[in-house]
Symmetry: C2
Subunit: 334 residues, 2 copies
């Protein structure tokens, strides 16, 4: 007989989370810097946003210092986690390469610890978001979760047995750069046929612009939404129209869903996760994206019929996942 009821265990856990010190998470995007004070339940106590001051690394560091000073004046922040797009070293000390910022092999952790007088952890934004979903969001209770953040490209991370799997050199989780169409669309990474050229918000926008450029009558509603300026059609424009029920936009999202499902089936062949969590801007399309994705996943999964299939779910924490995860990961530095 258990000594405690599940209610009392859950209350005890909750008390343990109450005792966890506050951490600050900072998500550095190409256009804005979001900072949030996060408690032991993954709840944001206070959040601030700033415009990203261009690509100048020193200016970005100053924004971080200002945010910590302001939020630190109101909250007892014991550690700081920084999430950004790019490759970080395995120790959480160094930004190896950041696509949107000027950091190149930059010892950001030591620089910031000296400025902030607190333990600092530097992490990839997709890893941070996945960690947040695994610990506080859609992934709770699953030992093997893959998170896909669909936006400009595909951010990815694998959470295995309560740890983000970073690979031998810190570069794991670049799922968007699996080549699924040799000789296909050119990718920013230099290759052709990368998955993110087929299953991202950018891919959706490109396909819609191409359709509109053909003067297809099917693109009438899309063109009307941008006053006839085909070049202004983005993934967000298509998603908004689709959510209003526009047929062509729904078709275009379903096509992206087909590619999404195929790539997930590839990941499942390799990694056999229990759960895929889909986040990022494109996930706003909800079931318009996920229903075709699930169908394509099941259709392309090797061993279908003989195996258990991973669930495919929407992310729960939205755009804040990155800063929540970065904050929580930084606690390990204390």
């Amino acid at each position: 007989m258990p000594a405690f009821s599940s209610e009392s265990i859950s209350a005890a856990r909750s008390h343990a989370a109450d005792a966890v010190p506050l951490a600050l998470g900072i998500d550095i995007g190409g256009t804005k810097v979001a900072a949030g004070v996060v408690d032991g339940h993954g709840v944001i106590v206070e959040e601030l946003r700033r415009v990203t001051p261009g690509r100048d690394a020193r200016a970005v560091e100053q924004v971080i210092v200002d945010l910590v000073a302001e939020l630190g004046s109101r909250h007892a922040i014991e550690s700081v986690g920084i999430g950004a797009a790019g490759w970080m070293d395995l120790d959480g000390a160094r930004v190896v390469f950041s696509p949107h910022l000027a950091w190149r092999d930059e010892p950001l952790r030591d620089t910031l610890e000296a400025m902030l007088h607190r333990p600092v952890l530097v992490t990839n934004d997709a890893d941070a978001a996945a960690w947040a979903e695994a610990r506080f969001g859609a992934g709770q209770g699953h030992s093997r979760m893959i998170m896909l953040t669909l936006g400009t490209g595909i951010g990815g991370a694998l959470v295995l047995d309560g740890k983000v799997e970073r690979g031998a050199f810190g570069m794991a989780g670049e799922f968007g750069h699996q080549i699924i169409m040799p000789g296909g669309h050119r990718c920013e990474c230099g290759n052709r046929g990368c998955w993110e050229q087929y299953a991202s918000g950018n891919a959706l926008g490109r396909e819609a612009r191409e359709l509109a450029g053909k003067q297809s009558p099917m693109a009438a509603a899309l063109l009307a939404a941008v006053d006839g300026r085909a070049e202004e059609i983005t993934g967000t424009v298509v998603t908004d129209l689709a959510l209003q029920g526009e047929a062509t936009s729904k078709e275009l999202i379903a096509e992206v869903g087909d590619w999404l499902g195929l790539g997930m089936a590839n990941l499942a062949a390799a990694l056999d996760p229990a759960l895929f969590v889909i986040g990022g801007g494109l996930s706003a399309a909800g079931e318009l994206l996920l229903e075709p994705a699930r169908r394509a996943y099941s259709r392309n999964l090797t061993g279908r019929g003989y195996r258990k299939e991973a669930a495919i779910e929407e992310a729960q924490l939205g755009a804040a996942a990155g800063l929540i995860g970065a904050a929580d990961l930084s606690r390990a530095r204390r």
Copy 2:
């Protein structure tokens, strides 16, 4: 200052391995059953082979019992590991599905433990081979290794931090079924465009037969090797000719190497291993395969130039890797 020199540590390790009890590994293939008594160094003390008695599960079990009786009469075997193609459950108890044998959701471990009076572990043959290479072969000293066994298809396994990563449901490592060419060649798994249809011994044979079927003068040496019977050209025939320097056969192997490298780049994008180990029948082609594979890998790797690249090495344990790994894994059951 270290208390021991590296020589004395290595001697101590060696003594520890001497004290490990003997285990029996049995590799059940489509045509033969190989059994070997394996010591703590991964060395085979004695090996026996039998013809696989068709697909009849009871007959295969009887062969296993006979092999254990015979080898057990000469060696103090304390556990038995069974490796076979197919999907095993996470506990090493049950064969979920085996392509070449009649086992379907078969509780093979319990059945055999009752018959053999020893602890038994049931494992996938590719997982077993990878474990052997990681522990005693090419993978020693690497925390993250992917093994690819190139034969009929592509057997695969990922060894992470000293453990074979099996996934949430025991189906991880089916790398050969990542789809790299949507709409491409049909695969036995039911899909089209699986990697193993492009980068396996079977793929090599198919390409060579197709060339020979076109009556191409380029295929003259290949046709001569099979007395003009194009349908008898296999991957092994091509590999043997290539090793003798025949130009077309070398080209065909290089094409397979190109596909091999592309698929490995996809796996590196996702998993960022330190090492790929290439085994299986096709690996007999050696550098004729690996040199183009390394080139294609580097050419298709996302982030090339900014990242450390995994090494790509030949397996060291040959066809015995499966039984050595199965034997060693079975020790955990004691």
